[in-house]
Point group: none
Chain length 128, copies 4
Amino acid sequence: MDASLLIIQPTASDPIYRQIVDQLRRLIASGQLVSGETLPSVREVAGFHAINPMTVSRAYGLAESEGLLERLRGKGMVVAARRGGGDSEAERLRLLEPALLDLSRKAQELELAAAPVLERLQQLLGTP
Amino acid sequence: MDASLLIIQPTASDPIYRQIVDQLRRLIASGQLVSGETLPSVREVAGFHAINPMTVSRAYGLAESEGLLERLRGKGMVVAARRGGGDSEAERLRLLEPALLDLSRKAQELELAAAPVLERLQQLLGTP
Amino acid sequence: MDASLLIIQPTASDPIYRQIVDQLRRLIASGQLVSGETLPSVREVAGFHAINPMTVSRAYGLAESEGLLERLRGKGMVVAARRGGGDSEAERLRLLEPALLDLSRKAQELELAAAPVLERLQQLLGTP
Amino acid sequence: MDASLLIIQPTASDPIYRQIVDQLRRLIASGQLVSGETLPSVREVAGFHAINPMTVSRAYGLAESEGLLERLRGKGMVVAARRGGGDSEAERLRLLEPALLDLSRKAQELELAAAPVLERLQQLLGTP
DNA sequence: GTGGTCTAGACCACA
DNA sequence: GTGGTCTAGACCACG
């Protein structure tokens, strides 16, 4: 995996360490990161994104305690062993649920009908 | 409006002042609070929920700068007049754009196809 | 004079009593209010604009102490005696100076050239 | 940027936090503060001017919600990236509209002709 | 009565 | 180190 795969937004409301953990969770669930694959070192990620190494370290530590990553002595962090190359669609949809709930709540606060929201989202999903 | 209509959770991760602003936004969008309606005074809300008046004041001030409330000098805060019965659909959709982009990015990180995502969102939007 | 001649904006940053005094000053300077003319009673103004009588009273009191109005026993407030039917153009322009300075400062903060500002103002002044 | 660049007048009618926000707006509009530049910390400004940190924090928070500043977590506040090198002239003129309407109304209350008003304003705008 | 401002001091999350 | 949040209590302007 390359450090550039991660997207860091230093001004987002989410703290940086959680942005990293969340992305790792999704990249692993989708199979873009496979079991045994080595992650870029803390220094590499920190240097590439100009963030504090401690922040990356904290994210890796949380990911490890969550079972996403494993610490191999001398090799660094690798993606933990999983039952398959990625989660089922239902499983991945479950990981998206919080974002869906958030969007849904906001759309309803704005009194938006379902149609225009779905239409716009389809546009965004159709052009990756 | 009565101070008891607001729900304050002092232990939530969201700060109290934002809980208040968010609820006001919701209550106004849903029509439970109508233009011109008077809000309970800062001291009333603070007393009822046993929180500091300044915290309530901060929420009211933010809601005012957001255009939700208006300050009637010496009288208190009232729900602001909505410009022309609410924003246009295009305008409201524009306000939703950041959340849509966020969801879209996460769905693509999960390598989810558009169909299941749209389907689930439609469910959520259909049952307000 | 009729109470409807005054324009009150309860949500403006300027306090109401000063809005009244300032308008009286301008209406007298322009000759729209002439010496000896009777002003609407405190109750009348307060009732018409749905504001607190004390606020109107305070404004009248300040206008009196400024020499704009005089309190005639049994008649109420009247416009004070002045040397002419209104001030000279230079004098009235002087009264506008604070607003001109304010506008000028804001235009410069916005890095706006003089031309578009003057053009827009001419439009506004041309269609009273 | 240095904390001494800010000028605080504790006796002015404008509250301190707004003095700070207004100055930041001016400094950014005039280019004295450029995108990405780091601001002095809340504690630094508070210490230098002998005011309460919360007052500075309030100013920074408002400036952030206005889009003037961005918060870099754990690092501090920086001048926000300007979208496309500044607003268009039409956009900036639109921001000036309220002040223009205010001036226009006052000029008409003074029954001033357009010419002398425009002439004086041109003088003011010509000597920044 | 209303909200606004400021202070002093505490505790917390994040980097 | 950074800013964020909350409290307790004071004083003020406005109506």
